[in-house]
């Protein structure tokens, strides 16, 4: 009985994952070197995969912490697989750090708020010329769209012209009508004594957001989020492994509980902030208070789908016989229920913005509906209708085949969800899903699976001394 819990990471599996990574790297290199892929598209894809896979890993920590605090017993046999997923947080986090540092410091087109030029009222003529040359099109494939976005940004700037001064003078002067009616920019480019001219690209809104959206703080936040998550993932895993070898369970159990509670508190704040930072600030003028929770649920569903796939794979190889249909049924219920909850959040965000019809807000969905129409609506069909109709029946949630298919579909679906959140803000209408995107996905998937399998092979697939283990073994419904 104990044999089937010692997972062996075979050479064949290693080879498969390494091939995935190599193929991915080759695809990315071809894209970049052949010149058909813009820098922007590269960074946008790197961001998409980093956030997606790191998010899956971080949600696995949430899964452990939430079940620990909720005193769940059924999931103990599943736990080691979830634990293995959490270990990708650090690796995925390193890629996020590369993006965060790289784009905030060197490459400003991804997070264009990171460009100091946009928040300076007075600049030199040379800086304006440089900026204009950089954005004159042809710089990258998405140039045209980027231009259009800057137009948008500028247009909004004008709408908000005078906002800050008025705010400072009299923050509750509601008779201020500039907000709606001022739309002309009379800057004359007249050079002042020190050679500075009025910056025609000055973005009042971004200037106002600077205390939050600035490169040093942005980097610091990423370090804090990823550092905390990785640290707790490491702690929880270590305690769990130590429990296997130790005697008595209370101490380990209490420690896990302690770190789980800490994680939930941290996650409550960081899960929303990561979404604002890494995804929402790609459209730096746009905001939605629900955005963080929406992102979290999307990642969490994906994380559960990945867990289901891993479990089914392990079972197919003869491992963890202890995990049976009853446990998968529960995961299936989660996926079903939270897919509906995801739709609820999607609808709440969309409907409220659509109904209020405020241009600053609707532009977000307008662009997606126009330029990403099939993906935008496909999102709802894949992530709502499919799980809703397919997973509603009890026997569907207990069928390994149906669960496998649905898990794959939903991973693609939620990847698409992130694609539709990230791409319009970065590459605009010029989006592709081709060898390059697939390659980038394969690279990350290979790396992710390699990490997870490596972790699985390091310990028993069952937490043998967990006080709730026997409840989990006998779980039926």
């Amino acid at each position: 009985m104990s044999d089937n819990n010692k997972f062996e990471f075979t050479g064949k599996q290693k080879k498969t994952f390494l091939i995935m990574m190599v193929v991915g790297i080759i695809a990315v290199l071809i894209g970049l070197l052949a010149g058909s892929v813009s820098k922007q598209r590269f960074w946008a894809n790197l961001l998409l995969e980093s956030v997606f896979f790191t998010g899956i890993a971080a949600c696995a920590i949430f899964m452990i912490a939430a079940h620990q605090i909720g005193l769940a017993g059924w999931n103990i046999v599943v736990r080691r697989v979830t634990e293995s997923i959490t270990k990708f947080t650090l690796i995925g986090g390193l890629f996020i750090m590369v993006i965060v540092v790289g784009t905030a410091v060197g490459y400003h087109d991804l997070y264009h708020w990171s460009n100091n030029f946009l928040t300076e009222q007075q600049v030199t003529q040379a800086e304006i010329t440089e900026y204009e040359e950089h954005h004159a099109g042809g710089h990258h494939v998405g140039g045209h769209e980027t231009e259009e976005q800057h137009d948008n940004g500028e247009h909004k700037t004008n709408e908000h012209d005078g906002t800050k001064e008025d705010h400072e003078q009299n923050s509750f002067n509601t008779s201020e009508v500039n907000y709606i009616f001022t739309s002309t920019d009379d800057s004359t480019h007249a050079a002042s004594a020190d050679g500075l001219v009025e910056n025609p690209y000055y973005d009042k809104i971004l200037d106002g957001k600077e205390p939050y959206l600035n490169p040093p703080f942005f980097i610091l936040r990423a370090i804090i989020f990823l550092g905390l998550w990785s640290f707790i993932a490491y702690k929880l895993r270590r305690i769990s492994l130590a429990e296997d070898l130790g005697n008595g369970t209370d101490a380990w159990y209490m420690k896990t509980k302690f770190w789980s509670a800490i994680f939930l508190v941290i996650w409550a704040v960081t899960s929303s902030m990561m979404a604002w930072d890494w995804v929402m600030s790609l459209d730096p003028h746009w905001y939605s208070t629900l955005f963080g929770w929406y992102n979290f649920i999307s990642l969490w569903i994906t994380s559960m789908c990945v867990t289901v796939l891993l479990l089914i794979y392990l079972k197919s190889k003869g491992y963890i016989k202890e995990v049976n249909q009853n446990h998968l049924h529960d995961l299936g219920k989660y996926i079903f229920g939270f897919s509906i909850f995801w739709t609820y959040l999607w609808f709440s965000q969309f409907m409220l913005i659509w109904y209020a019809n405020i241009p600053e807000e609707t532009i977000y969905f307008l662009q997606r509906k126009r330029e990403y129409n099939p993906l935008f609506f496909g999102n709802l069909i894949i992530n709502f209708l499919m799980p809703f109709l397919v997973l509603m029946r009890r026997d569907a949630k207990r069928s390994l085949t149906v669960l496998t298919i649905m898990a794959v579909v939903l991973i693609i679906g939620h990847w698409n969800d992130f694609f539709v959140m990230i791409m319009p803000a970065t590459v605009g209408a010029d989006w592709h899903i081709s060898y390059f995107e697939v390659g980038m996905f394969l690279f990350f998937a290979g790396m992710f699976l390699y990490t997870v399998f490596y972790q699985l092979s390091k310990a028993s697939l069952i937490a043998v001394k967990h006080p709730f283990l026997k409840e989990s073994l006998g779980h039926h419904q």
């Binding site: 705010h167 008595g248 369970t249 409550a268 409220l352 028993s460 001394k465």
Partner: protein
């Protein structure tokens, strides 16, 4: 089903099924006590005062209230949302916690469901009397009529509310009553007089407890639980739409739907605690509503309170982040304007104080929990007041800025609904078991303290309890699994 010995039992005192019936049905069979009579009279009088004030409002019009041209929604809508929120715990406990297999819900679900129904009844009063011409209230229902183009406006979230709340009310009543049927039958079976037997027999639909009855009961419960689950979210979501679909700064924010739902569950649990802590004391049900129950509910309070807290901070942050001066001012006005006390009252009661429940001692303290539950109810009332009044009393046009103060009529209508609510609850507690007897009996074998926990004496499956204690010592819970 194996239960880990580290789980806390949920039924104490080594109860037998017969004892459980005695303990839970006992108060229904006993003569009304003087205390009960006094309480019901008092609450009835309070309710009567409230209805008198409603009468004044209907007679003289909404002018009896403190509303004005700028503040068209205030006290009444605050109370409406507050009551609707309180009405959320019942369905959450009976439907969602059922899905999450939380056994402790059986100790409190009956009263929570009853409370839900009474709270929704109180809530429903407010929009109706706010209409001014109550006699035209039926206009909200779309039906073929001779009024020509005057029909319900389907684009209005206020109309969605009508459907959401009436559906919620209907399903809650059905769910509650379905659960009551076997218990009413037990009351009937124990009845000493023929009259009493007859009455309870009518109300339990002649339940015999046959296998067929139980099978239908189970199917119906499952269907109702399935229907109730989305309803837990939909009702307060649609209430939040009343505000969030507008373009009023402070109201128009996308986080409102889930945040309103979390806040509703938060206040609902607080109200369940307020009532249950009294009920368990008066009816001596401490062995059925144990400290484990109270602790679990307090955990739900930390969870939902923190969700609400994160939402407050998100709103506050995003109002600044938006760089939209109206959004920003809405929040500056909330926190530092003339109604600052309501904002800080809300923050203290809803976000800061529930965090004290992280301390296990406080979580398990009955007295502390009771004060906390009152605190949270006050805080949640402030929350709705903050959202509604502070967002509208300073309009876009400064000349329209004004203050809102409630009149005595409004204040007594509010107090009257509390009296009405308490009267209904007291009546319910007298005629029906306040704990779902059949459901608590169902968990005895897995959560009774003779079967699990430190004082267990019974054999659990094939393993003797002594044996389990040994297992606990060496950390091997009778499984064959060995570490690798």
């Amino acid at each position: 089903m194996f239960v880990s010995p580290i789980r806390e039992p949920l039924i104490q005192g080594h109860k037998t099924y017969a004892q459980m019936s005695d303990d839970i049905i006992g108060p229904v069979e006993a003569k009304p006590t003087k205390m009960w009579l006094a309480a019901v009279t008092f609450c009835g009088l309070v309710a009567l005062t409230g209805f008198t004030m409603i009468g004044l409002t209907i007679t003289y019009g909404i002018g009896m209230w403190g509303l004005n041209k700028t503040v068209g929604w205030a006290w009444d809508i605050t109370n409406f949302v507050w009551w609707i929120g309180i009405g959320h715990a019942g369905t959450l406990i009976s439907a969602i916690l059922l899905l999450f297999r939380q056994k402790w819900r059986t100790g409190v679900n009956r009263s929570a469901e009853a409370m839900t129904i009474f709270a929704v009844m109180c809530a429903g009063l407010f929009p109706i009397i706010h209409m001014g011409r109550v006699w035209l209230a039926f206009f909200i229902f779309p039906y073929p009529n001779t009024r020509g183009p005057v029909w319900s406006n389907f684009n209005s979230p206020l109309l969605w509310d009508v459907f959401a709340i009436s559906t919620y009310f209907t399903v809650s009543v059905l769910f509650w009553y379905t659960g009551l049927i076997p218990d009413l039958a037990t009351v009937r079976d124990r009845a000493k007089t023929a009259f009493r037997k007859k009455i309870y027999n009518i109300f339990c639909f002649g339940w015999t407890g046959s296998a067929k009855h139980w099978q239908r009961f189970e199917s119906l419960s499952l269907v109702l639980a399935g229907l109730s689950t989305p309803l837990v979210l939909s009702v307060h979501t649609i209430v939040s739409f009343d505000f969030a679909t507008s373009i009023v700064p402070g109201w128009h924010t996308t986080i409102f739907p889930p945040y309103f739902v979390a806040g509703a569950i938060f206040s609902g649990f607080a109200m369940v605690l307020s009532l249950m802590l009294v009920v368990r004391k008066v009816f001596k049900l401490e062995q059925y509503i144990t400290l484990a129950h109270i602790e679990s509910m307090n955990k739900v309070i930390i969870l939902t309170g923190s969700i609400v807290g994160v939402a407050y901070i998100t709103e506050l942050f995003v109002s600044w982040y938006s760089q939209n001066q109206y959004e920003q001012y809405a929040f500056i006005n909330r926190s530092t304007g003339p109604y600052w006390w309501s904002y800080w009252g809300m923050m203290t009661c809803n976000v800061v104080s529930p965090q004290l429940f992280w301390i296990k001692k406080l979580r398990r303290s009955v007295v502390f929990t009771f004060f906390m539950s009152i605190f949270i109810n006050v805080g949640m009332w402030f929350e709705r007041f903050v959202i509604i009044v502070t967002s509208v009393h300073r309009d876009y046009i400064t000349s329209a800025w004004t203050m809102y103060y409630p009149t005595y009529v409004e204040i007594f209508i509010y107090i009257g609904t509390i009296g009405f609510f308490m009267t209904l609850f007291l009546l319910f507690a007298k005629v029906a078991p306040v704990i779902a007897l059949a459901e608590v009996k169902a968990i005895l074998k897995t959560a009774g303290d003779q079967y699990t926990g430190e004082h267990a004496t019974h054999v659990q499956h094939e393993h003797a309890v002594e044996h389990m204690h040994d297992e606990k010592k060496d950390g091997n819970f009778g499984t064959e699994l060995k570490p690798i």
